[in-house]
Symmetry: C2
Subunit: 380 residues, 2 copies
């Protein structure tokens, strides 16, 4: 295939695969698309290890790294300082009532305490101060793309990437956000509809992509949100996108390190089983509706805290429920396409099915336009 993004990155297929798992990233890049590693959960040292592994296993194909540099977050005015110092100051902003609510919730569900204190990685890369070291590490590797998951990245980070010959992508959930991204020099805008997993806005992919395409033209746009098969890829590109940005579909692949409990929930869930909730990070993120998301809507809920305080508040709880793979209390970010995820495939098979589905969709559109009988019933 050939679009402006395949040309830009020298890739065969305009399929971008976001994953926290290096094996998925390498597999998709090897299959002709572009894997993008979500760096959020890694320390700089761990990220170094992951990227070195990808360098050795992506067959020399291009790949990217995704960081989280929210343009607004609580405590941003506390200044850069060190990550540890910022974390201490932010922890002082978490009310005791919120801590009691979380502990009570875990007690209700008989979630055991941790036997030893965790690594204390509560802040993660949610802030400018903690994401910059990740950027430094990423730019020491032959990455092709640096993506920012929340809002426009700082302009100096964009310039830094460009000096390394690395293109920058930004996720946008509104026309206004897209314009901001372009203003700071973002090269590729990912227009992400509300149906997407994780942080997401309110406007659907069908409506958002054409709006963003019109806003940022001639800059290339990727369609994101609700893209899990070749029909949806063709739809996203019909809307004006030069390719697709995907995430949820890779959770149910053989290479993914999705915890068994979460995978079982994902394979079982329908498209109506997700909800946009602030309960994990403080900003609305789409995840499976379960006891965790419902608890934060209860009458006795203290309400969620702003980013990054909410994640700091619930970080230990997430490790506790994760350790026992709690079936109803583990937050599980995923998009509405979860309803069509009902088998585990190799990542290369997912890429292959994207392409056959795209081809079938295009055949049907051409037949309709040319007045030929429909060539075949539509299929996944």
């Amino acid at each position: 295939m050939r679009t402006r993004v395949t040309e830009m990155f020298g890739i065969e297929l305009p399929i971008f695969a976001f994953s926290h798992c290096r094996d998925v990233v390498a597999a998709v890049s090897r299959a002709g698309g572009m894997g993008v590693l979500g760096a959020l959960y890694f320390t700089p040292e761990e990220l170094e290890t992951e990227l070195a592994w990808i360098d050795a296993n992506a067959g020399g194909r291009p790949y990217g790294v995704d960081v989280v540099m929210p343009s607004r977050y609580e405590g941003a005015e506390l200044g850069a300082g060190s990550g540890e110092e910022l974390q201490r100051r932010l922890e002082g902003l978490i009310p005791d009532g919120h801590r009691r609510f979380v502990n009570g919730l875990l007690a209700e569900h008989d979630v055991p305490e941790l036997t030893r204190a965790g690594a204390g990685r509560f802040l993660l890369g949610w802030t400018d101060a903690t994401a910059r070291p990740q950027v430094e590490v990423a730019l020491r590797h032959p990455i092709a793309l640096l993506a920012n998951a929340l809002g426009a990245p700082p302009a100096d980070v964009v310039r830094q990437a460009h000096r390394h010959g690395v293109a920058v992508a930004g996720l946008a959930s509104s026309r206004r956000h897209a314009a901001k991204q372009r203003a700071v020099g973002v090269d590729v805008v990912v227009a992400q509809g509300t149906e997407a997993g994780g942080h997401t806005g309110e406007v659907s992919t069908m409506v958002l992509v054409p709006e963003v395409v019109d806003e940022v033209a001639p800059a290339p746009v990727l369609a994101a949100g609700g893209i899990g098969d070749g029909r949806q890829m063709a739809a996203g590109m019909a809307l004006g996108a030069e390719g697709v940005w995907t995430g949820s579909v890779w959770l149910a692949t053989e290479e993914a390190d999705t915890p068994a409990g979460a995978l079982a929930q994902i394979l079982r869930a329908g498209s109506r089983d997700t909800v946009r909730s602030r309960s994990m990070t403080g900003k609305p993120a789409r995840m499976l509706r379960n006891d965790w998301t419902e608890a934060w809507e209860r009458a006795d809920s203290p309400g969620t805290l702003p980013m990054p305080l909410q994640f700091m508040l619930v970080s230990e709880a997430l490790r506790r429920v994760g350790r026992v793979a709690h079936p109803t209390l583990t937050p599980s970010p995923v998009g509405q396409i979860v309803g069509s995820l009902n088998r585990v495939r190799p990542s290369s098979q997912v890429v292959y099915e994207f392409m056959t589905g795209f081809g079938d969709a295009l055949d049907r559109l051409n037949a309709a336009a040319e007045g030929r009988p429909t060539p075949s019933p539509p299929s996944r």
Copy 2:
């Protein structure tokens, strides 16, 4: 163009245009698509007048009628009886506190009282008892399609339509609803995503259409929700639909009788300015976010009533705010594509732009697949 729905109905273009305005219906049918008149607001006598007008003005082209026969509504167990009797019994179910809230809201906004009592058309076609006479009227005209806007229509109504040689369509917002529609004999399933105006579910068009296509195959599916231009039409059909079902886009046409105040709001609004609210009918319907929708979320709101009680409760209020074209209190059902509605065009021009946009989108997809340079930047 040729798809299974153009063959089924003998139309040139698989564009279905829902409108409460007969002029739009006739204009779209004349332009090669199929206009579908929303019957809800008409008495049987008025509907007779509207359809006679369409018969005389659609150039002999096929058109359809859309009724509302919800599968569940409050008071359904009161039995059929006459519409007037049912209305009296239902009115007894509306709490006084709700009436006081509505009256207070209108007083806050200085909305004048009606100078004389209205026609008392509070119940409209929201129920089996009141929609059936509309069906009787519709089937006396040469309609090609009877559509049901909420859930699966009663099986005997489907049989009645089929005896008249009339195809039946049903709107579905989930895979399960689509299966129910097929079980009662619906011929065409309209898969309507959450971004649509009016009554709508939670799953986006991008996710819902492929699910419904897979569920009801080989029955034809129309894509609805977020479809306002040719790019979105191509996207909907890439997802597996045989055509598109559209609504909001016709509100901003020269033929539409959209009240001036509502039209001004529509032309000004962005795609993030809508909300799903129960405040008009008791079931979630997407409309512009304004003082009306916000009031029902306030701390002093008594909450909304189930269908059809909510509409009966607010019916007079709607006439009062409508009469003065209240700029912030008039409910205005519209989908997220409202953000791209910023000029008033003739309906035939809208149809024409659907087709040129579809052609451009298809050219881009073919170029991408064949490895040719992109022929032109995507455009509306």
